[in-house]
């Protein structure tokens, strides 16, 4: 059986398990600077 201290740790870990970090949380945001911004046709890829 888990000791009291480990039960508390488990509760905290279990709570954290439901909002896990995603790999992108550790990546820089890719800021993309257009060189010559234009309004491209909507059917072209926009991102």
């Amino acid at each position: 059986p888990l000791q009291k201290e480990h039960q508390i740790q488990f509760q905290m870990m279990e709570a954290a398990y439901y909002h896990l970090p995603t790999p992108s949380d550790s990546e820089r945001l890719k800021s993309y600077l257009q060189r010559q911004p234009v309004q491209t046709p909507p059917h072209y890829p926009q991102q």
Binding site: I8, Q9, M12, M13, A15, A16, P21, S26, L29
Partner: protein, 512 residues
Amino acid sequence: IEDPPGFAERVEYLLKDWITIFHTPSNSKDMIKAFGGFVNKMNVYGILKGDEPLTRFFRHATQCCIDLTYRNMNDPSWKTKIFQWIDAYVRLIALLVKHSGEGGSTSTKLNLLNKVLGIVVGILMHDQEVHGTAFQQMGYHRIFIMLFLELSAHDPVLENISLSVITAFCHTYHILRPSLAPGFCYSWLELISHRVFIGRILASIPQQKGWSMYSQLLIHLFKYLAPFLRNAELAKPVQHLYKGTLRVLLVLLHDFPEFLCDYHFGFCDVIPPNCIQMRNLILSAYPRNMRLPDPFTPNLKVDMLTDIGGSPRIFTNYAAAITPSSFKKDLDSYLKARSPVTFLSELRSNLQISNEPGSRYNIPLMNALVLYVGTQAIAHIRSKNLGPTMATIVHSAHMDIFQNLAVDLDNEGRYLFLNAIANQLRYPNSHTHYFSCAILYLFVEANSEAIQEQITRVLLERLIVNRPHPWGLLITFIELIKNPAYKFWDHDFVHCAPEIEKLFESVANSCM
């Protein structure tokens, strides 16, 4: 002491001002100029007038970032906004660290970095207490990883303080170890295993100066996992962290096997005995410049291998783990002169710490004792210009101790004792050689079948798990089942169930 009136508002204004500056495209080309202007503004607001206002500034600014995270946690689109806010704040910290103090002097920079890290840690620990299971790790995760990436950029000023930066972050992650910040444990594993962090601490820092710090972080992780891994069934949150740990160990096994070789002893001290595959993974590491002969090679002459005489590096002070000092003194005295004879009969009581089944023994002491006696034995054999063989390891004080432990301990104690020996069956080196001979000698000289059964159990349970399997384990088991001197197949426990018999035969067939 309370903040001066209006201080928090001033901090929030400055923070928002900086974030606007940071995200203005025209500034992105020449951030240093923009930063210089902002520092002047900080000065005008009295932030840089001394240690205290600066500390208050970082505490409030960090708290602003964290509050923003909590306010917008559930809106996924807000994640980018939160990160834009935090990344700007982190850039400010990094620029302040990099440009503080005179160009060459590093202490000002590092004091500032440690101050900021300490403030973030303090807020995190307090937040974890306040929010409990509603604690959110994301904001802190972002601050730590982005600050580390900023301070790991290729830059002459930062290169000059890279070891101190890594040390500061290791110290931070040591304070935030999972047993103290369990709500942060998943982020913590992400942070210590981030590719840039691993690259810096294990590869870039010269003379492997980061290895010891990193081994401490992994030991924190194993210690945290241990109570949850003792049960056969893993709860989902535990399984997730365990699986993440396996991935990290696989990367280390593949890229830094020497690191696992050097620190295996400390790791195996804290990994629960039933965590067989994870332990095998660590014990399977071998130096990259070594070629392992196929264990199934017919008539493999282990004592003829070039590497078999090498002494493996062990960066754990296992001798110091043999306590109390009176016990160590008696041990050394017995090893030297086989006296006091009472030493053997008192061995078990020194190793037993409770009568609670499943935790009767001091495992680290058992592991240290076995390794210490074994290394003393190897040195003793070497002093006669011999190497460990079935002939040279017998009739010695060292083997007295091992045989006494095999006979005198109960099933649990003997299982742990044999595990301590099996943990030394790794790649070709003098420890593997000695302990392989030792466990086989204990098998052939056993005065009860229970000893032989438990030796078989300890070896077999390490072989039936998925790969990898340590080389030393394989050659020992192959010798046991192939060499008729051990009469292995005559024992009832070999035929106690069809599955067991099939397992032995499959290993035996692989050998043939």
